[in-house]
Symmetry: C2
Subunit: 234 residues, 2 copies
């Protein structure tokens, strides 16, 4: 762990719960490379510390720490939930009393049918409509839920310094959505696309299952990505 | 109408039911430009003839005819259903006794919530799972159903001679799916992506609602498109 006084491009820390997994670790690497202060969360402190050490080795002057999930989430500007869908509700319930109004919880889970022993190219139905809306239903009042990062390949995220080359559809209420879109812009090759209201996560999450099926059919281990064409430059 | 003896790149005719609408007309123009024999279908013969005349004026040596839906579908190699979702079942029921085993019906409908007076950026639930699966449930035995073309902008299709620049996710059983993928390849800038089994149309159809919302938010009248990255060249 190396914490340097370099100015972060975002105010506050980015907590990544489940940051020891492939995709969470990839995001940690990218946000550290962008100069952000990242806290990797895990249910087990030693796993979190280990992941933070891994990031610190890969990114020069990385501002990264490892903590237990609740300690990671407390006070963070962004709390990214990077846990398998079936652990989303449990993880959130375990840390919800550590959250405070104004924080942004980022849902990146996908209700893949693997949660019930079926294929990763299929989905299960979620009562609230999507993983993101499930998260919103469990988040304390005043905490904003934003959906993002579902379709970003872990392989591409970890392949620093190559640009990720992927669009991220960001959904949620306007102000927190805009802040998460700004977060995406810190990662080279990652473009945020305005995905409108949170309920649109139903579609974005399902696109992951479609991409997983394509990865299998086309035998693309690094992960097929999505680009939207015709969006005007900002 | 001008029918010339030029060799078609596909065997048999392509019937486009609802070919008088924006998207159907766009497909008719493109397939005629590729040298295919196209039959534009409509509930009303005079509208079909009018649309065929329009295509014949725009595409040199176009092999295009206008017929009533049932007459258009009879004997066609491909029957593309380009009618609004709420007319899909009715159109199919009206022509189903004109279909024969071996024909391929292409579903391009999307269950947008406009069917019940709500917004085009939202979806309604379909009992069978998707418009394509509804079509399959109504098609006679031996007729293959394939899902395609949902996300292709009508504006881009009609903008001949510019390439369409859009990926088309094609879903269905392997053999008919492959044949529809070959059909896509005839249109410049249209790339077919293997979308696996027909049930994946649930996801592809929903993507249309997401794109419509994006078109509104980004004020893109010509339509935002989708490209998948990382798919190996054939």
């Amino acid at each position: 762990m190396s914490v340097v006084p370099r100015e972060s491009p975002v105010e506050g820390t980015i907590a990544i719960l489940g940051g020891t997994g492939d995709q969470g670790l990839g995001l940690a690497l990218r946000f550290c490379a962008a100069g952000c202060a990242v806290v990797i969360g895990s249910r087990k402190l030693d796993r979190a510390l280990e992941a933070a050490e891994h990031v610190a080795k890969q990114v020069r002057d990385a501002r990264v720490e490892g903590r237990e999930n609740g300690d990671a989430a407390a006070g963070a500007a962004f709390v990214i939930l990077s846990v398998p869908f079936e652990h989303t509700a449990g993880t959130l319930k375990a840390i919800r009393d550590r959250l405070a109004p104004g924080q942004i919880v980022v849902s990146m889970g996908v209700p893949l049918a693997t949660a019930v022993g079926d294929a990763a190219s299929r989905m299960i139905g979620v009562w609230q409509g999507s993983c993101a809306e499930l998260v919103e239903s469990l988040a304390p009042e005043g905490v904003h839920t934003v959906s993002a990062f579902q379709n970003v390949s872990a392989h591409r995220l970890q392949a620093i310094p190559e640009p990720v080359e992927c669009d991220v559809v960001v959904s949620g209420a306007k102000e927190p959505r805009t802040r998460v879109m700004e977060l995406c812009a810190l990662v080279p090759g990652l473009r945020a696309v305005d995905g409108g209201p949170l309920a649109n996560a139903r579609i974005v999450e399902a696109m992951t299952a479609l991409l997983i099926g394509m990865n299998i059919r086309y035998r693309v281990s690094e992960g097929i990505g999505i680009r939207f064409t015709g969006i005007p430059e900002p």
